[in-house]
């Protein structure tokens, strides 16, 4: 049994307390440790992704106890790719936080950042529903503190909303877990897949309630309308690097939906029939439309980006709720794109903030580093709005292509295309007000030009943009890989047999006492 798979969880879990205990008052040492931790995380994630690229399913039994009694970590293509995506995103976000000095505005940024990574990695790797809840809590607890990092009234008020909404989500999650346990007597995902299929048609009430509750919980995480209300305020008020890292958190919800509803409640299961196409798909279409209308209606740049995140989550969920291999493959391609594009835009909105009084979309004098920031915003907006030539366009094409066999194909096409147009208008309006019309505003004598953002900030944003470009250039390879991922998800038998049939240590009674 290989121990590598536990590294993405253990490593941040060790780095974080070390930072708190040993380097509490030394921001320099904290930065070095944190970056080194994330670099090691990327190396481990690369190794895991390579290991599972050929379809191998890596199993790690905690304490060598066999499933379903012990807790297991499972690495397949999907979870290792999400781990790699998180680690890479974390590196650039961390570089930006260091470059812009955000990490120095409170004492525990780096420790909390590592705890947040631990929670996200654990949520991607775990093979147990209750463990998923625990890792959700780990990432949420870290995010509560990161969200109000550097303080301030607006941030605290948004923080209260964010924490309360997620507490309600956690409570719902517990209700869902309780009813699943009451119905099946297990919380291991592979074991659940077996037992849910055995439930007779006349006693499905409990398990149906559980399936819907679970979907609600994940929909809160993925910010699907009408459960998106926590997102705009908290993402807009959170410190920019934190908001950029949060771009992966909505994807944790999407990941959980993919995992649970391909394995435990697969689309052909009669118990939960209609959940995806009757409920999830329309909700996803409404999120897409509402997010993009929000982009056009937003009066502040940070809210504009937050709404574009809702819109792109809507796009991801439209594709997921088709629940066909093509749909999931397109969704996975789009998840990578939307994470990178959302994070890029949050960081760019912070670059804009450094030179302006506020982020309201009003005409103000040109900001420091106007042309470079404008160019980056242009690229980020093209990616997020889904214009050619960047990956947003390709992702959208894949989604549209996958939607051909759906009953709602007309609705999907109309809403995807119309909302794209609206978001293009929204981004174009914001860009022209922020960067072009600024030249026509006279700078008062009393207002000095602020110093431009640090080079490292630009390096971080540029790195994310170049990842977006690479995601476009290697779209063929990436899409082929996400297709194999989707194929693996729709044939869960190897996953289930690996988890359930691997023997653990035997519990032998040591004679009579």
């Amino acid at each position: 049994m290989t121990h590598w798979i536990v590294l993405p969880i253990i490593l941040p879990a060790l780095v974080a307390p070390f930072i708190v205990l040993a380097a509490r008052y030394h921001i320099g040492i904290q930065r070095v440790l944190s970056v080194a931790g994330v670099l090691a995380l990327i190396a481990a994630a690369c190794g895991l992704a390579l290991q599972s690229a050929d379809g191998t399913i890596t199993l790690y039994q905690m304490g060598d106890w066999a499933a379903p009694f012990g807790i297991v970590l499972v690495g397949d293509r999907l979870s290792t790719m999400m781990v790699l995506l998180t680690a890479v995103l974390a590196l650039f976000v961390l570089l930006y936080a260091i470059g812009s000095g955000w990490d120095d505005r409170g004492r525990h940024f780096h420790a909390l950042f590592q705890f947040q990574l631990m929670g996200i990695m654990g949520a991607f790797l775990t093979g147990d529903l209750f463990n998923l809840f625990v890792f959700f809590e780990v990432l949420l607890i870290a995010s509560y503190a990161l969200m109000i990092h550097a303080g301030g009234n607006a941030r605290l008020r948004a923080g209260v909303q964010y924490v309360l909404f997620n507490l309600i989500g956690s409570t719902l999650f517990l209700f869902a877990l309780g009813s699943i346990y009451a119905e099946t007597g297990t919380l291991n995902m592979a074991d659940l897949a077996h037992r849910v299929a055995l439930i007779g048609p006349e006693e499905t009430v409990g398990i149906r309630v559980a399936a819907v509750l679970l979907l609600l919980v994940f929909a809160i995480k993925a910010a699907i309308v009408p459960l998106h209300f926590w997102l705009p305020s908290s993402y807009a008020e959170a410190p920019a690097p934190v908001a950029a890292l949060f771009a992966i958190m909505t994807k944790v919800g999407a990941y959980a939906i993919i995992r649970v509803y391909t394995m435990i409640f697969p689309p052909e299961l009669e118990v939960t029939a209609g959940l995806h196409d009757t409920w999830l798909l329309p909700a996803a279409l409404v999120s897409l439309a509402l997010g993009m209308v929000g982009v056009l209606a937003a009066k502040r740049l940070d809210r504009l980006v937050a709404f574009s995140v809702i819109g792109s989550m809507g796009m991801v969920m439209v594709s997921i709720s088709l629940f066909t291999p093509a749909g999931i493959a397109a969704a996975l391609y789009y998840i990578v794109h939307s994470t990178l594009a959302g994070a890029t835009l949050f960081l760019i909105s912070d670059l804009v903030r450094t030179g302006r009084a506020d982020l309201k979309l009003t005409q103000q004098p040109t900001i420091a580093g106007n042309s470079l920031t404008a160019a980056l915003f242009f690229v980020g907006a093209i990616a997020m709005a889904g214009l050619p030539p960047l990956s947003g366009f390709l992702g959208k094409l894949l989604v549209l292509d996958a939607a051909f066999d759906s009953n709602l194909v007309v609705w999907i096409w109309v809403i995807v295309l119309t909302s794209s147009l609206i978001s293009i208008l929204g981004f174009a309006r914001a860009g022209s007000i922020l960067f072009w019309k600024a030249h026509s505003v006279e700078r008062g004598d009393d207002i000095e030009m602020m110093s431009p953002p640090a080079t490292l900030s630009y390096v971080a944003v540029g790195g994310l943009v170049s990842l977006l470009v690479a995601h476009t250039v290697f779209a063929g390879q990436v899409h082929r890989y996400t297709s194999t991922m989707a194929a693996q998800l729709f044939a869960p038998e190897p996953y289930i047999s690996t988890v359930l049939d691997t023997p653990g240590k035997l519990s032998k009674p040591k004679g009579d006492h």
Binding site: V134, V163, I168, S170, G178
Partner: protein, 118 residues
Amino acid sequence: MELLVSSAIGILTAGGLYLLLRLRTFPVILGISLLTYAVNVFLFASGGLTIGAPPILRDGIDAYTDPLPQALVLTAIVISFGMTAVVVMIGLGAFLGSDDDHVDDQPEPDEDRSESTS
């Protein structure tokens, strides 16, 4: 006993939901506490209600109660307890800073920004 436990869960949940909808920090926190009590009892009951039976193996006993929900409840209690403390501190900070304990976004008076998010 089933009636007692299930009605207790129901009343706690109903009270919690009512308080959640008050949209002021203090009632909402109370509501969340009630909801977490409800879910803790609910988790306990999810393994089946058994009285006077041991949860771990012993010689000469055939009836056992399910030990797993007790472990789940323990985790849930610890997390919800800690989180309630956190949200009280953040809520207190927000209230002292802005002298307003509304949970939802208030429209800002100095501009015509329409709040589409609250």
